[in-house]
Symmetry: C2
Subunit: 174 residues, 2 copies
DNA sequence: GGATTAACCAACCGCGCTGGTAGGATTTCC
DNA sequence: GGAAATCCTACCAGCGCGGTTGGTTAATCC
């Protein structure tokens, strides 16, 4: 797989935050229950998003997280980068310090021109384009399209199992 | 990383075969030495390529491997698929039997419309496009462009360390 | 026909990363 | 002061990756 569950969970978390009214904190617990994800693990995930200054937080009772910027100003590029680190097709493509992409094999003495380089560059380009041209707002809108009448969270969630199953619309065949 | 070393090694192996005259077997040992890869591990890699009918082989003395088709009729899509299996951004995207891509979360009762689906679809599309539009011939040509005077292998290789270092041209900055 | 070459095959294995869990410390609101 | 949250650190089982080992079978050379 390309992305680990950190990316999956983190993106879902961001989408949930994108659905809320801005500046209003949403607790991790509410998100964990709505998305059925382990709370303790979500803590680690959201920590990365915070470090990248994509979300902000308030501690204490009625605290929680909210988006640091409007959803349409957040590219999924940034989100995935924060969650997974640099996305590269191969080990040799990621340079830790500069975060620039290059093939370290080129530096090998006596090594032929890295035959695979052209391919990995193209793949990398394809991924980067997809991530850069998709904003969080796109995903929020997409998620609302199918279940607009069933907000995933209430502001003060009284989460019972009914709340989660309420708006399960029929899904179109893929 | 997106691809494991199997893909890296396998692609390099294919490029080496693409540089040889067709139908003429090249031994794994020669390739392993030219690319400085562990022979025993290459055996496992090439086995996948053979199973996918991308290479053919002859046993015994002067045996070896060669491309099953001309290099310009082999897309890297096929090669990477043979080496890595289906490339999917997330676990839920790969359906073992059909090899079709879909999000299995959709089937979950009571699960919201998978918010991440749109993103992973786009990423997947970007990768697929890159792999499908690149042929092995492209990579062979690319590898020859930088080191045309230094064929990686002789037909009957007398591999000394000098042979490998001979054509190490200066590499342009990326 | 024996030696050599090379494909083919099946286990095995250490290591690091993934996907968590456990437990507590700290901050804020009622 | 207690409840509700974030925040922080450590720990851990399982598994896939990147090989290695040791052999068997098939074709060619001398």
């Amino acid at each position: 797989m390309i992305f680990s569950s950190k990316a999956e969970y983190g993106v879902r978390l961001m989408v949930e935050l994108g659905r809320q009214t801005p500046e209003q904190p949403t607790s991790l617990k509410a998100i964990a229950e709505a998305e059925r994800l382990p709370l303790a693990y979500l803590e680690q995930v959201v920590a990365r998003l915070k470090k990248a200054e994509l979300v902000m937080s308030a501690r204490g009772a009625h605290g929680g997280y909210w988006l640091a910027r409007p959803a349409d100003e957040i590219t999924m590029d940034e989100v995935v980068q924060a969650l997974e680190g640099a996305i590269a097709p191969m080990e040799c493509f990621v340079s830790e310090h500069t975060e620039r992409v290059l093939c370290s094999h080129d530096a090998d003495v006596g090594h032929q021109h890295c035959a695979t380089k052209l391919l990995w560059m193209r793949v990398q380009g394809g991924i980067a384009r997809a991530l850069q041209t998709t904003t969080l707002a796109d995903l929020v809108e997409f998620s609302l399209r199918e279940a607009p009448s069933a907000p995933a969270l209430a502001v003060h969630p009284v989460v019972t199992s009914t709340a989660a199953t309420a708006g399960a619309a029929a899904l179109p065949a893929v």
